[in-house]
């Protein structure tokens, strides 16, 4: 399948994300001749263990995620980032998880927005909001290159496209920038040939990064 980068918006220190930034980013995608094609959506859930004695919660993973992706509507992905573990399952696994009553959803986030076509590239720009809420928590972007499915081989062209994108966006002087973090796929046992498991790994990475940013900002706010 085509490779993609999943990027997130890193606000400048002291600033936060807002819908104006999202609007400008979307306008920028259209400004470089991106053709708006339709909506896209991904959902990410944080699970927490249901324990009988709270004191023992530490023996269970704290970073257990479930991810559903539009590109694989009948699949569901589990990621335990701390253990570099990605598991692909059919979406019925969600029913099994509910029936087991051993883990429950702590927070669920929607990643949703619009898709733009630019030649062989597809851009998906979207907001990160908790389910049942419109409270903007972040901005995310998928950058997909249709002709190539090798992570290694796509690196140069993706880097070049990202430079063009950054340059176009810089004209708008927004208080932040998109960051690309490349998970070490080999640690997850993933090969060079791109798969939806690679996408899941990238979502887990940007999520960890967004949480870290939010935590450092709130720590900073507390100090001020």
């Amino acid at each position: 399948m085509p490779i993609k980068w999943v990027l997130h918006w890193q606000p400048n220190p002291g600033t936060t994300v807002n819908t104006q930034i999202l609007t400008e980013v979307s306008q920028c995608a259209e400004g470089i001749n991106g053709v708006k094609e339709g909506r896209w959506k991904a959902t990410l859930s944080f699970y927490k263990p249901m324990v009988r004695e709270q004191a023992n919660a530490s023996e269970f993973p704290r970073d257990f995620l479930g991810i559903s992706l539009q590109e694989q509507p009948n699949k569901y992905y589990f990621v335990i980032r701390g253990q570099r573990l990605i598991v692909e399952a059919e979406s019925t696994i969600q029913t099994i998880m509910e029936k087991l009553q051993s883990y429950k959803t702590r927070v669920a986030l929607n990643f949703e927005g619009f898709q733009y076509q630019l030649g062989d590239f597809q851009l998906r720009v979207g907001k990160v909001v908790p389910i049942h809420s419109e409270n903007l928590r972040g901005i995310v972007m998928e950058m997909e290159y249709l002709p190539i499915s090798s992570w290694e081989k796509s690196h140069q062209i993706m880097g070049e496209f990202f430079d063009i994108w950054r340059e176009a966006l810089s004209k708008r002087s927004l208080p932040g920038h998109f960051v690309h973090i490349e998970p070490n796929f080999a640690e997850y046992g993933l090969l060079d040939e791109y798969s939806s498991q690679h996408t899941a790994a990238q979502y887990a990475s940007i999520m960890a990064q967004m949480i870290a940013t939010a935590q450092s900002q709130s720590a900073q706010a507390a100090r001020n």
Binding site: P49, M50, V51, R52, E53, N56, E59, F60, P61, F64, F78, I80, Q83, L85, I86, V87, E88, A89, E90, S91, T92, I93, T95, I96, K99, L100, Q101, S102, Y103, G189, Q197
Partner: protein, 217 residues
Amino acid sequence: MECVVQGIIETQHVEALEILLQGLCGVHRERLRIHELCLKSGPNLGLVASEVRLLCDLEQSEPTWTVRQVGSAMKGAGAEQISVLVRTAVESKMSKNALRLFYALGYKLDHELLRVGFAFHFQRGAQITVTVSSINKMLKLHSTDEAVPVTPGIQLVEVTALASSENYSEVVAAVSSFCEYLAPLLHLSKPGVSTGVVPTAAAAAASLMSDGGGATL
């Protein structure tokens, strides 16, 4: 949901059963070799104890993994009157690191076994699966190549059919009527209700073997 009945048969009569099933179903048997791992939640995990089964299909060139969760059986007077167990069951195919995931989540291996035999999948009033298998235990952890039968000379027969809350009574009827055809060779009942081998099995098997299973229904 699924409807299920089980029974046992002596290994010496399995060939006759296969001939009968072949005649009844009109399809060819599939070989069955499944490594089944039963996992239970650790002592502190979950509001209630829970259990899942990981099934590794060793017949495939690249083994495939499925997780299966079986819920409680349907209860009530109606459920008691029927001879078929109706229960919820959910399955999901998973990538091959499924076991690692459940260990990471706090599940422990309770026991494992290897089912070796054959299965028939066919449509007869419902989508029915019949499996005939010997249950084997491993002498060493995960050593499926060194498995030995738990009950030598006896094989397990299981008849299952997928159902929904709307159509389960028709599926129960389809399963029950199918089981009647097998009655001379074995008795099928709800899991956990052991009925043993049937006395007519030897004679029925001899008859099936002599006429080559040409009986048509």
